[in-house]
Symmetry: C2
Subunit: 247 residues, 2 copies
């Protein structure tokens, strides 16, 4: 008996090992929506047949995708496309006296369509002057302002957020990005530094100009590795607290 299988070609780019090229081909299928976040990938043996590679090669490619955070293996159940990142709240870098145990709230202070400044365009991989959505957001704990954020989002994928009232927005952005724009944030890089707050940065936080501040700059990436968000978060340096364990 002969079974007919789909065959999926993949190009081995120069300098890329065979299994890395295979991983890129599998990532492209995820990005194309063939396997949505949360869904299971087909069996390794079927994938190996489709891509016409040895089972060992397919396993190494899948291991690479696990290491890259695109998929996860659940013991005895298979390989799944990961849901977006969790535990990525900027609040994890701070410890505020107010509102321990309270659900943090969000308030959008402003929303503008603007031409991307050069620095933002470079981060988002856009040409200078391409349109972006600029948001100012305040995060609150127990009604006390604690973090001030400026977000830059490429308008081509975030157009749905440029319409309607921001009062209806969710307190958590990433689930809303997924639901309303189909953007799944899969990786974020947070760069933490220190800077004195200007009056414009301090006042919404209930602080005085010149107050010591912590600045977190985030680049967030979607399933395909595109930078889909560039964010600057500011908060009271005295509330900054972060723990790193090394083993």
């Amino acid at each position: 008996m002969t079974t007919s299988h789909k065959v999926v070609a993949f190009d081995s780019a120069p300098g890329l090992s065979r299994y890395a090229a295979l991983a890129a081909a599998l990532r492209a299928r995820v990005v194309a929506g063939e396997w949505p976040p949360g869904s299971a990938l087909p069996a390794e043996s079927l994938l190996a047949t489709e891509h016409q590679v040895a089972l060992g090669t397919m396993r190494r490619a899948l291991e690479l995708l696990v290491a890259q955070g695109l998929v996860e293996r659940i013991h005895g159940r298979g390989t799944f496309v990961r849901q977006g990142i969790a535990g990525a709240s900027m609040l994890r870098f701070f410890r505020f006296d107010s509102g321990s145990g309270e659900m943090p709230r969000s308030r959008i202070l402003s929303r503008q369509r603007v031409a991307a400044p050069a620095a933002v365009a470079r981060r988002l991989g856009l040409a200078t002057g391409e349109m972006v959505l600029r948001l100012q957001r305040l995060r609150l704990l127990a009604d006390q302002p604690c973090l001030l954020e400026e977000l830059w989002l490429p308008l081509d994928v975030f157009a749905p957020l440029a319409e309607g009232s921001t009062a209806e927005w969710d307190d958590l952005l990433y689930p809303m990005f997924a639901r309303r724009c189909g953007v799944h944030v899969h990786r974020a890089v947070d760069d933490i530094g220190f800077a004195v707050l200007t009056a414009a940065q301090a006042i919404p936080l209930g602080l005085a100009a010149g107050h010591p501040g912590v600045v977190v700059q985030r680049a967030a990436y979607d399933l395909g590795g595109r930078c889909v968000e560039w964010r600057t978060t500011r908060g009271d340096a005295h509330a900054f607290h972060y723990t790193v364990t090394i083993t």
Copy 2:
């Protein structure tokens, strides 16, 4: 043919799963020095026989020790007791203009045998008043002071460091702890916060009293999970820089 094997008993403490108790028994053998850092553990099958457990149970216990950072598996070679932690330098939290690419240097400013203050004793698991070694250390890059450290070490294991000239000390402490005191630091927890520097803290760093500072508090643990070092590191908040990636 009958083979005679060593049998190693282990107690299953209440609330501890069988494999977790087994992991604790294996850890005790490492702590006792049966397998020194860098050495290979015996084959899983032999270990399973010695502890009279199924091979699957032994594998789960070893996986737990891998997750805890005590041992590591090297593909095709076996399971090894890990050498101490690497990449634990406090300098990873900072980015100084001076001395990029320079090897950081250390200068011991003071060394005292003192009775442990209550807060230090609690951290080190000692009774208040037990003797500890208190060190003040300056870290320098290109001869510029950049970090000021206060270290507290329990004297029972660090007695060799109370003797002789500190001028001969290594720039890196952990390899010296291992070589001179047999203490292998295997885990460290760094707690990062912000505080304004006092004159006594600022002046050795070439800064003025009231300058914004970043404070890192470290608890470091040996193979057996004992806290063997409590350290406070201070540096210029403007030089603080740390990147966290979430996937």
